[in-house]
């Protein structure tokens, strides 16, 4: 078949294969996104009687103190929590890589939270944080540290951190598995060379293993960052944004404005969603560009 590119096909043939997927994409991804952009310029109490308001919703966002609080909280989640997630995952992976006893058991046990739904995780950790009989406070009391017993989710100073710990507990297993896979694919000659040079375990870890894992860790960080920018489930189940908006995130605020407030406007929550969509894209682009200075990302 000289001179014929077997990878080309006629347009009709291509469309037969592409159309179903394109139709699903258009209906369930593209249209909702465009509709949300469109809605953000309207007051929409009813789909049939939308009123054009231009950029009013976006201007109102500038003076919305709850939105500001939710942005600050989401940013803290997005930048800090991935460090905890990835750091914990890396530590667990190192434990397994080093061959701790019962490694097989721990690998399954540490990965199990990833398989649990947020509802289950949220309820479990509500119990764990319970002031009267939760494991955290019970342990503190049993060890003579009862003075530190606290309403972890009820205090504006600790609620967000408590949620981040819960989130890290759920996702550490995923990061562990990815890190472990990356460790097993590290070039053995480099590690053996380090050993021949009498490199101690700490030096090997910090000067060989972690630098070699750097692209993987950055990929995990960015993936976690994107996830955190949209965090909703855990907050909704455990604190509903309280106390005093201390755990309100942009996603929970969008939901509340759309469905919980006894108002009917869909335009304002759409404006928040649009703005946040652009912010997330901008941050991901920025992080990707920053990290690409040294490492090629793979996502």
């Amino acid at each position: 078949m000289k001179g014929v590119d077997t990878r080309t096909a006629a347009w009709p043939t291509l469309m037969v294969f592409l159309l179903p997927a394109l139709a699903v994409y258009a209906a369930f991804t593209a249209y909702p996104v465009f509709r949300t952009f469109y809605n953000s310029f309207f007051n929409i109490a009813d789909l049939d009687t939308a009123r054009y308001v231009g950029l009013d919703h976006f201007r109102a966002l500038a003076g919305d103190s709850t939105f500001r609080a939710s942005v600050v909280n989401t940013m803290i989640w997005s930048f800090v929590a991935p460090i905890i997630d990835v750091g914990t995952g890396l530590l667990l992976a190192l434990c397994l890589y080093a061959g701790v006893p019962f490694a097989r058991f721990f690998r399954v046990a540490w990965f199990t939270p990833v398989l649990l739904s947020y509802v289950v995780v949220g309820i479990m950790w509500l119990w764990i944080y319970n002031y009267d009989w939760g494991v955290v406070n019970a342990t503190l009391r049993a060890t003579g540290l009862g003075a530190l017993a606290h309403s972890w989710l009820g205090d504006t100073h600790t609620a967000l951190a408590a949620l981040m710990v819960t989130h890290a507990w759920k996702w550490a297993g995923f990061n562990m598995v990815v890190c472990l896979a990356a460790m097993h694919s590290l070039p053995s000659e480099v590690l053996e060379a380090a050993e021949l040079d009498n490199c101690g375990w700490a030096a090997k870890l910090f000067h060989v293993v972690i630098p070699l894992l750097r692209p993987t860790l950055l990929n995990l960080y960015i993936l976690a960052f994107i996830g955190k920018m949209k965090v909703f489930d855990l907050v909704f189940i455990m604190t509903d944004g309280g106390p005093l908006w201390a755990t309100e995130t942009v996603s929970t605020y969008v939901y509340k404005r759309a469905f919980n407030w006894n108002t009917f406007d869909l335009g304002y929550p759409s404006a928040i969603a649009v703005l946040w969509f652009l912010v997330v894209i901008a941050f991901v682009a920025l992080l990707t560009w920053l990290f690409r200075q040294k490492d090629r990302l793979e996502f």
Partner: protein, 425 residues
């Protein structure tokens, strides 16, 4: 409130009669109700539906019980797309459904003479009534008689302590290792504010209290500040449990009557819905020493006998529903004095449907007598704060007065400032 009803006739019922002609095609009415976990209320609704289907062969009802938060989310989504059920459950703070044209006025469909006036007012918008007020309630202060004795407190004959006496009671309870209030706010935007709102109502009187709720009066008003300062003292003395923020409404019931137990439970009179079921289903223990005291009278109270009376769970009709005939007939069949009596007898809770108390019999008669005694001299204020607040103001009420202030995380000044910023007209 519990007056007997006139044997009213509704001219519009002629429409219903016409609709019951043999030519009338069978319709399946879809109906969403809250109360999936409240046996007495659920049973009442199921029985009314069953009675209705028995008497109206041309109408079938597809009844679903859904938790309130989920029901609201689904209703708000589906009314916009024409896919809402023919009948669904709402409370009057969601009058925005009517304002946006999603609800069918019930005048001419339901026999209005069988509804209490206060209940009709709660559901009136532009002169039309939009909800069938099945549930009504007063905001009560329940207490555990045994724990009161254990704390060494005796109530006066009026069952109403003054400010100093109530403060003393809270301090004695804390000293005895008893949690004074069993409130939990994890899944509701209002129970944490019950005590404060009742104190504000008594201190200000109905007119100024309404002005406060509608943004016409500042939360920095000296009388409001007095009450908030006092409540803050109670909070700092340990009035609320440390698990206040994470307790759910249902769990707070259990906390009060079973484990670990609390002295008082400021809650609406729908306490019975969860408490008067068998203990293995989360109800209060058999022979639980339940009492009802009056809320205290704050110093300088303008209206110490004032009390909140509100319409709760109601049924509304979707304006774009396809089965309005049967839906209307169903709602009208529920709005009878006989059914009002059945509600009170079975659920032990007030209703916005007229009743005839003389015909009510129940094993909980002593409870019901006590509830009536506490309400005998009451001067009612109609509606809870959330019935008057919307949007940001309602959100601030939920976060500030319901959660942060009673949990001791805000000063009086900060709380008043936040409320004014969100609500002041």
């Amino acid at each position: 409130m519990f007056k007997s009803a006139p044997s009213a006739r509704l001219p519009a019922l002629a429409v219903m009669a016409a609709l019951s002609s043999p030519a009338f095609a069978e319709q399946t009415v879809t109906m969403w109700s809250h109360w999936p976990d409240e046996v007495a209320k659920r049973t009442f609704v199921e029985e009314r539906v069953k009675d209705f289907e028995g008497a109206n062969k041309e109408c079938k009802v597809k009844l679903q019980f859904i938790q309130k938060a989920d029901l609201y989310t689904q209703a708000k989504t589906s009314v916009r797309t024409g896919q809402a059920p023919d009948i669904f459950w709402l409370e009057p703070d969601e009058i925005a459904f009517a304002q946006n044209g999603y609800l069918e006025p019930l005048d001419g469909i339901v026999n209005m003479a069988n509804l209490e006036d206060f209940a009709k007012r709660s559901w009136t918008y532009n002169g039309k009534v939009y909800g069938l007020p099945v549930e009504a309630y007063t905001v009560e202060l329940y207490y555990n008689r045994e724990l009161l004795k254990k704390a060494g407190v005796a109530l006066p004959a009026s069952m109403q302590l003054d400010q100093a006496g109530f403060t003393e009671m809270v301090k004695k309870a804390v000293a005895a290792g008893i949690t004074p209030f069993a409130t939990g706010v994890s899944d509701r935007p209002y129970p944490g504010a019950y005590f404060l709102q009742e104190m504000l109502l008594r201190k200000l009187g109905p007119d100024d209290y309404k002005a406060l709720l509608t943004g016409q009066l500042s939360f920095k008003d000296p009388r409001v500040a007095d009450v908030m300062t006092w409540v803050k003292q109670l909070v700092d003395a340990g009035a609320y449990s440390k698990s206040f923020s994470t307790l759910k409404l249902g769990e707070s019931h259990y906390y009060f009557h079973t484990n670990p137990g609390a002295l008082m439970f400021p809650i609406a009179s729908w306490y019975t819905g969860r408490a008067f079921v068998p203990p293995d289903k989360g109800g209060q223990p058999k022979d639980f020493p339940l009492g009802i005291m009056q809320y205290p009278a704050p110093t300088g109270a303008k209206c110490p006998e004032c009390k909140t009376l509100a319409v709760g769970g109601s049924y509304v009709m979707y304006s774009r529903g396809k089965n309005k005939e049967c839906a209307g007939k169903l709602l009208n069949s529920m709005a009878t004095v006989e059914n009002g009596n059945k509600w009170m007898q079975g659920v032990l809770l007030q209703t916005g449907v007229r009743t005839d108390p003389a015909k009510i019999q129940s094993i909980y008669a002593p409870y019901f007598r006590e509830l009536q005694e506490r309400n005998a001299q009451a001067k009612y204020f109609i509606g809870t704060p959330l019935h008057y607040m919307a949007g940001k103001c309602a959100d601030a009420f939920s976060q500030v007065l319901n959660r942060a202030f009673p949990s001791g995380q805000m000063s009086v000044g900060d709380a008043a400032g936040q409320m004014d910023a969100a609500c002041k007209a």
